[in-house]
């Protein structure tokens, strides 16, 4: 141990360690040796005291303003450091707010996109339906097999006329109203089909244009009923109250 201590002291490494001239790995080695060797620690303390003593021989007073300059600079550094923290916090807040905004906008745009997609799908479906309606109307109106019948009915002593076009071959049928009597604001015309004792709602007649053809189901035999109902329509109509009945099939 003593030999080892003497060798380390003789190596001059302690002087280099004190002066900070050793590379980090060497410095760590010396620190480890000192930690476990009180003699070395005592020698190091002596060296440090000597260093202070030695350096003190070169004492020289700097200009008086230097202290104030250093203190001013340190204050500026501290202010900047605080400002930097504020900037970092602000930057984080701005980033989070921007991220939140972008997230919300993305969500909103996705919702809009979904609505637009639904609308496009609906338009496509409607378009296909209208095309099919037009095709069916063309078939029914042009086909010699189509049977056209004129009908007349009354509501509150007011007559109204409509036509039915039934094509048994294609199983297609249409109604066309020439005119419709005016109804109170709370009433509407409703169309039904009864087949095999089952009554099926076809829909409510809104204000319709003349010449407009309304398709009716014509797959099986049955009777089309037109009733006057309370708006927006009656889920359980009574065909006995029909103002018009059109047999089909």
């Amino acid at each position: 141990m003593e030999e080892n201590t003497a060798a380390i002291i003789a190596s001059g490494d302690l002087e280099l360690y004190v002066s900070g001239s050793l590379d980090p790995q060497e410095a760590l080695r010396i620190e480890s040796l000192i930690e476990n060797n009180p003699d070395l620690k005592a020698h190091l303390d002596l060296l440090e005291n000597n260093l202070l003593e030695f350096s003190s021989q070169y004492k020289k007073a700097p200009v008086k303003s230097l202290k104030a300059n250093i203190e001013r600079q340190v204050k500026r550094i501290e202010r900047l450091a605080k400002f930097s923290w504020v900037s970092i916090v602000l930057a984080i807040v701005v980033f989070l707010m921007t991220a939140l905004y972008v997230l919300q906008e993305t969500k909103r745009m996705r919702t809009q996109q979904s609505v637009v997609n639904d609308q496009i799908k609906e338009l496509t479906t409607n378009f296909d339906q209208k095309l099919e309606d037009l095709r069916n109307q063309f078939i029914v109106l042009q086909s010699p097999q189509t049977e056209k019948k004129e009908h007349e009915s009354k509501y509150n002593q007011v007559s109204f006329n409509f036509s039915s076009y039934l094509n048994k071959e294609k199983r297609l049928g249409f109604l066309q109203f020439d005119n419709l009597p005016n109804l109170p604001d709370n009433k509407c015309f409703q169309i039904w089909v009864s087949r095999n004792g089952i009554i099926e709602n076809i829909g409510v007649l809104s204000k319709i244009d003349k010449q407009q053809l309304i398709q009716i189901p014509f797959k099986e035999k049955g009777i089309i009923h037109i009733t006057i109902e309370e708006k927006p329509g009656n889920p359980n109509p009574n065909p006995k109250e029909s103002i018009a009945n059109i047999p089909i099939g």
Partner: protein, 175 residues
Amino acid sequence: MGIDTRIVGLLKAKDEKALSLLYDNYSEVLYGVCFQILKDSSAAEDALQESFIKIWKNSHTYDQKKAKLFTWILRITRNTAIDLYRKTNKTKPLEVQIGINTVNIRDQGFDSDHLDVQNHMDQLALKNKAVLEAIFFFGMTQREVAEFLNIPLGTVKSRLRIGLKELGTIYHFKQ
């Protein structure tokens, strides 16, 4: 509580009073070291100012178990002064005088003409002092000192030992 302990406590707490105390207690010694290395008052003041800023910024890295406060701040100051010398004298090799020998030292050096050696420092032989300066101020290894002073390594070791012994005597005498 010793002044160093108080300064260290204030430094760790980032209390600016630490700087004031540090300056009052050590600025003259540190400035003297800077002047020894740079040989110019203005450059030495710049180095000292930069050193104090570094000490302030790196105060959290100081470990009392590894070195005394003065040792730590001297290392910072010495390195800052040497760096400043290298920055401002990139093309000029250092020509330094150590004791009675004139030698070229790669990029480290000092000039004994500028030494303001005070009373009891005179007790140190100039040759021993040169070895101490080379090692403590300029971070040279003993082998480098031997090479640049053109003396055997054993002589460097003995001058260092004698110089330290003399310093130790002075230190204990002062104590």
